[in-house]
Symmetry: C2
């Protein structure tokens, strides 16, 4: 529970992340401070050797903790487990980007104090976090000592047996340099195997009655600034702590040291108030273009803002670094980035914070040399991006659910296409875009083959559903590869100079188009549904009735052997294909496929409910879609998977936005523009949001019977509303009626795996402003 709140209340800016640990460090669930890209290498063992498997993995490490502010009240440490806690509240404010805390505490000896702290990880100063810490007596004079700390290699709780939890490394940092100067301390450390240098520094502005004496100390792994005073009732001690970080794999000790001092000086010169103002301004701008208003369900309203806030925190200032599955909120999945980023997170960032999306894609581009070497090692052309990684190297220790999941390459290409379509960023398309499109197209062409009848097959790969593996012609993979091949061919035609540079000749582009045109999509004519992969629908059905409720997630209770050979789906796969490549299916096929696969999908992955919400909405199951929306949206606030302790689920949170916007507003982008098919469930009264499209700003407001479209600014735009063309000009709203649909029977889910029913008017929390209380 404590660890969950640390993830939920984590602050980050895409570069630096601080978990929401209490200022005084203890009690804690799982302490953590992270710098995007800072990892240690660990050997990856195997029972039996095989060619081409990665020999080592990368693991995110807990860097120097700058959050610590310990308080002593009349010599007794402020620790909420002792004494008496009269009140305690923490508020994560999505408008200000700060985590505030109010506590009133009586020490075991009877001294009462009020503590108010506020912290931020700055969006405007990417290397900076800051804390304002205030303490005052409640009724009688107290002697207080405040100890502000920088702590490297802090002791972590032992990792539990859950394979999804990170392998936490002990003592990852070797001290290289320490110094203190008045109220400032700087520490430089280095990782042992990955050879990364990490600098952290703090400085303080201290304000209180009378003359305040401060002390500073430093050791290899700790720096400490202490201030002690006696406060009378009405007096207050305030400490503003500025913390700066810097790291590099290449730069010298001196360069890192100076960089950190410089960032710290700049922050101190800005001062706390300016940092707070800049933070609020940054977010005001974000919310102005990104907020989603949901009337009728305050819980969902809060959740979607919580989600957008964490998605922004994961990517805002990454600057050509990955967006890990947990953002910078915890060590889950070893801090690795997966396909989640491109398939779930970037679609949201592209229309809310496009620069952050471009930056995440540029990170992929930077790893192209590694990906091309990996493809060559595996015997293929082009680039094979890592299934899971921090620095680009493949870190998957189980190839059937790692390397074989080649769809990650098409997911990356798809994000490139989506970004270029949404922004019209031609420079990006010509540069990183073409690099990625061409090398992934080459991969697909060499992975697949034409059969005697000319059909193109991609055999032996793993699709999104991790309860199937190493199968032929996975429909999701094939459709995404088809798009990838066509996009590479089109881009090569459009940018012939870049194509020449990349060695693409007309023959190669033609081979891509041929493969795309001949792509196999296995279909079971008897059942009238697509096969997730060839042969899938002929497999035995998983015996859901005989599966005890406590045997989920299935992967913890059944061998992959048995999961792979039966019809049981961990997460949307064919259904995701229908969302991402919707025009490959007729409406009737979508409905039949949805019903068939929903009955097999156990949602043992957090990358499922949001997709099921979108497709449930599309096929007209609005209440079911609403239930799935709830599951995606509340995954971390309600800790639905019992692992929020390891970090929030960025992709599922992004899915909250997608479920609302692509689901209930029915938004679909394609090369031609944007289509809408809005339709609200009973549980929602109104849905309103803004989207960015090639410099335009489009305001959309959906109610039960009509939708209102307003082009706020920009060139006239043609959209589609439930299939009908609507022309929009700036400033002139267009209101369109929503056609009625016939009710259909609710799709069945595996026994015991039905989503929690979301009652109409549900909502545990009041208020509809962007703030979470906890």
């Amino acid at each position: 529970m404590l660890a969950q709140t640390e993830s939920v209340f984590a602050l980050a800016n895409g570069h630096l992340g601080w978990r929401g640990v209490l200022d005084e460090g203890e009690p804690h669930g799982l302490p953590g401070s992270y710098l995007n890209g800072v990892y240690e290498v660990r050997p990856m063992p195997y029972g039996e050797w095989a060619y081409g498997r990665p020999e080592s993995s990368q693991t995110v490490i807990n860097v120097t903790n700058g959050k610590l502010i310990r308080l002593f009240v009349d010599d007794e440490p402020f620790d909420v487990r002792y004494g008496s806690l009269r009140s305690h509240e923490r508020v994560l404010d999505f408008r200000t980007g700060t985590l505030s805390r109010q506590a009133e505490w009586v020490s075991p000896a009877g001294s009462a104090v009020r503590v108010h702290s506020q912290r931020l990880v700055s969006f405007s100063h990417r290397a900076i976090a800051a804390i304002s810490y205030e303490v005052e007596p409640v009724d009688q004079a107290v002697r207080v000592t405040v100890q502000s700390e920088l702590l490297a290699n802090e002791q972590l709780p032992p990792a539990d047996g859950d394979p999804r939890a990170a392998a936490i490394l002990d003592h990852p940092l070797a001290g290289e340099y320490q110094v203190h100067d008045q109220n400032a301390v700087l520490l430089v450390h280095r990782t042992q195997h990955s050879g990364l240098r990490v600098g952290a520094a703090m400085d303080h502005v201290i304000d209180g009655p009378g003359t305040l004496r401060t002390d500073a100390r430093v050791t290899d792994d700790a720096g400490m600034v202490t201030v002690a005073t006696t406060l009378q009732p009405g007096q207050r001690l305030r400490l503003v702590k500025f913390v700066a970080y810097g790291w590099s794999s290449a730069r010298s000790l001196e360069a890192i040291r100076d960089q950190v001092w410089a960032a710290l000086s700049a922050a101190r010169q800005s001062g706390w108030d300016n940092l707070v103002t800049e933070q609020r301004d940054y977010l005001a701008d974000f919310w102005d273009r990104s907020d989603v208003e949901v009337d009728g369900d305050t819980e969902i309203q809060q959740a979607v803002r919580f989600s957008l806030f964490h998605v922004l925190q994961a990517g805002a200032r990454g600057e050509d670094r990955p967006i890990p599955a947990k953002g910078l909120t915890g060590p889950g999945y070893d801090g690795h980035a997966f396909w989640d980023t491109e398939a779930f997170v970037l679609p949201v960032l592209i229309v809310t914070a496009p620069d952050a999306a471009a930056s995440a894609l540029r990170w992929r581009q930077h790893t192209l040399p590694i990906a091309m070497q990996r493809a060559a090692d595996l015997g293929f052309a082009g680039a094979a991006f890592a299934w899971r990684t921090i620095a680009g190297e493949e870190c998957s220790g189980y190839w059937p659910a790692g390397t074989a999941a080649f769809h990650v390459n098409a997911d990356i290409a798809s994000a490139v296409i989506r970004y270029v379509n949404a922004t019209g960023d031609t420079d990006f398309e010509r540069g990183p875009g073409m690099d990625i499109l061409v090398q992934t197209a080459r991969l697909w062409r060499s992975l697949g083959h034409h059969d005697g009848e000319g059909k193109f097959h991609i055999d032996g790969v793993t699709g999104p559903d991790e309860y199937s593996a190493v199968a032929d012609d996975n429909v999701y993979t094939n459709l995404m590869a088809q798009r990838n091949l066509l996009a590479a061919a089109a881009a090569s035609e459009q940018h012939p100079d870049r194509a020449r540079e990349l060695g693409v000749d007309p023959e190669e582009a033609a081979a891509w188009r041929d493969a795309a045109a001949a792509m196999s999509l296995p279909y079971d004519a008897a059942l009238g549904v697509h096969c997730q992969a060839a042969g899938f629908t002929a497999h035995q059905l998983w015996d859901f009735a005989a599966t005890p409720a406590d045997h989920y997630p299935l992967m913890l209770h059944y061998p992959y052997f048995d999961l792979y050979r039966k019809q049981v789906v961990k997460q949307a796969d064919l259904v995701l294909a229908m969302q991402h490549v919707g025009d490959a299916f007729t409406a009737e096929q979508k409905a039949r496929n949805f019903d068939y696969y929903d009955a097999l999908t156990v949602r043992d992955s957090s990358l499922s409910a949001c997709t099921q919400a979108v497709m449930a909405a599309e096929v007209g199951e609005l209440d079911l879609a609403f239930d799935y929306l709830g599951e995606a949206a509340l995954i971390d606030l309600d800790d639905l998977e019992h692992n929020t302790r390891d970090g929030v689920h960025i992709a599922s949170l992004a899915g909250t936005y997608v479920a609302l916007v692509s689901g209930f507003a029915g938004v679909r982008y394609d090369a031609g523009g944007v289509r809408f098919a809005p339709r609200l469930p009973d549980g929602m009264a109104r849905l309103a949001f803004t989207i960015l499209l090639r410099g335009r700003r489009l305001r959309v407001e959906v109610k039960h019977r009509s939708a209102r479209y307003l082009l706020v600014e920009g060139e006239p735009l043609q959209i589609s509303h439930h299939g009908a063309a609507v022309k929009l000009t700036a400033g002139k709203p267009s209101v369109r009626p929503i056609p009625a649909i016939a009710p259909r029977p609710r799709a069945r889910q595996p026994a015991g795996r039905e989503p929690i029913r979301r009652r109409v008017g549900d909502g545990k929390l009041a208020g509809s402003t962007p703030a979470a209380a906890g």
Copy 2:
């Protein structure tokens, strides 16, 4: 090279194995003394956790070395790397079961000696090995010191990177007890993790001129008996060394100690000459019923005797222990037993040493509780025998080529069926036989499922070909499972009391028969061939032309990912199905299937050439069959796979017999009796052998134009010769002409993987008696 000879010259009796290391221990390739069933446990690591994977493995260990006899000539150690070696010859005699050595050596100081040693691992005294060691001066008096040693934890060379080589464990034995008494020494040790107690003792009879002074010493890990004397020309020092071994997982230190002393005393009382006589008698009996005579190819003649000798050594006195893939000749494959035993080795032992075959199958029966637990852990009924193991627990660290290869269970059942058919051993059938048949049938029934049309499918399993994995309806697996299900149903009908005991009711037996009757066998009508597994023939063909010769075996140069998804076959799979379940295919199908799969089979496994030989002969490709026979037969004598150092390939050696008897004599057993379809290649003039069949002894002699059948003893017998019934009565030979066949084009193999052409009249070694020189 040295290590290869150590494997080739290894002596064993199925219980105890000594590699053919020089008496003086050095130079050596890979020292090794093994006790069947003595192993250490090592943890089995994974990059990522998954349910149901074994957490530890078992590894054969090098037990106390009793072979060592060091010689000092005028204080200089006898070491063939120094001084001058005038002559050196070692002879492994298949008739006497001894390894002899003659050497004449001049020390660096100029003293010349002749050494003659002879060693045996006794077939009659299963715990005993013995050495006769003689030394004499050549031309002038020499002072000789002979040091006979027992050595535990001897230093081993570091293991190389080949995954197929054993993980050699350092210092596996902890000393528990040591004692010496006159010329005898006894050491008891214990393994650290597996908790096995191993005792080894030696005693000596020393004979030489004058009074001989002996010394004995003992430490934790070594015992030593030393004798020193001066020999005049014409004088000789002879030392007979008796070595006894004993081990147990349960028995006390005292019990082991006494057991080893007792075995040693018995051997000493027998004396060297009696041990030699008993050894020769044991082998005379074996050769009398098992020898295969091959005229026209002396190399094959020698090789088949070498093969039979090693097959006997692997199984003779195992007594309810496994027969490992390398026998007791080396640490390869960690000393594990695989399906090789039941599919390749037992078919030979069943007709040459049926008691050894029964013993190996009883070992499987003893592991049934472990196999039933394993099946339950995996979620299946019945028993899932280990893919690789020493003590019964699954030791495979890579499930797609381990646990998923469920065919091992049908291979075991098939060996039971074959043993009972050949011997008529009803007690075995009622007992261990039914236990195995019923539990494996239960496994198959729960592994497979009926589809909507009633067809029975076994999905997601791995067949014999390890370059494919986790596929649906592998034909080999399905046909073998079909046999298994039918045999279990038939046995339950025949032994209703045992069936009741095992809980088999008529419904269950009916379900087995239904599944067997409805078994799917995928067939590609367009190509007119069976699919190795569903979808196999639709996969891309491996690009053999682009595969460099030094990229074989492919598994060391290409990822499993790419091997699995393409048409490339490591080892006979569909072709093995045609051998083992021949009546499931028409002659025309066999020919077409053979041609199709031979063109895809790279023989990166030693478990292939013998099967290809059998089926090449059956489809009428006698010269090709002859070439494959050569490959199977010479695998160790010519070190064709460059890994004979780790032990000989027992299954491939057994395949030499099978290639001759099932191949060129066309022997097929079925429930009704035995069929012959003999036909010799040009390279052989005559093939003669004896087979045992339900107490009868049948002598067969095949020439190019006719075959002669003689029932040596027993009840009249009807056999089939090229489809025609032949009635045999004891003592009356029947000679039958061999029908001519039309020539057919030679099957193609993958480019560069054609077997070496065996020229007519080939043969590097002269002599046709059962002995190998090296």
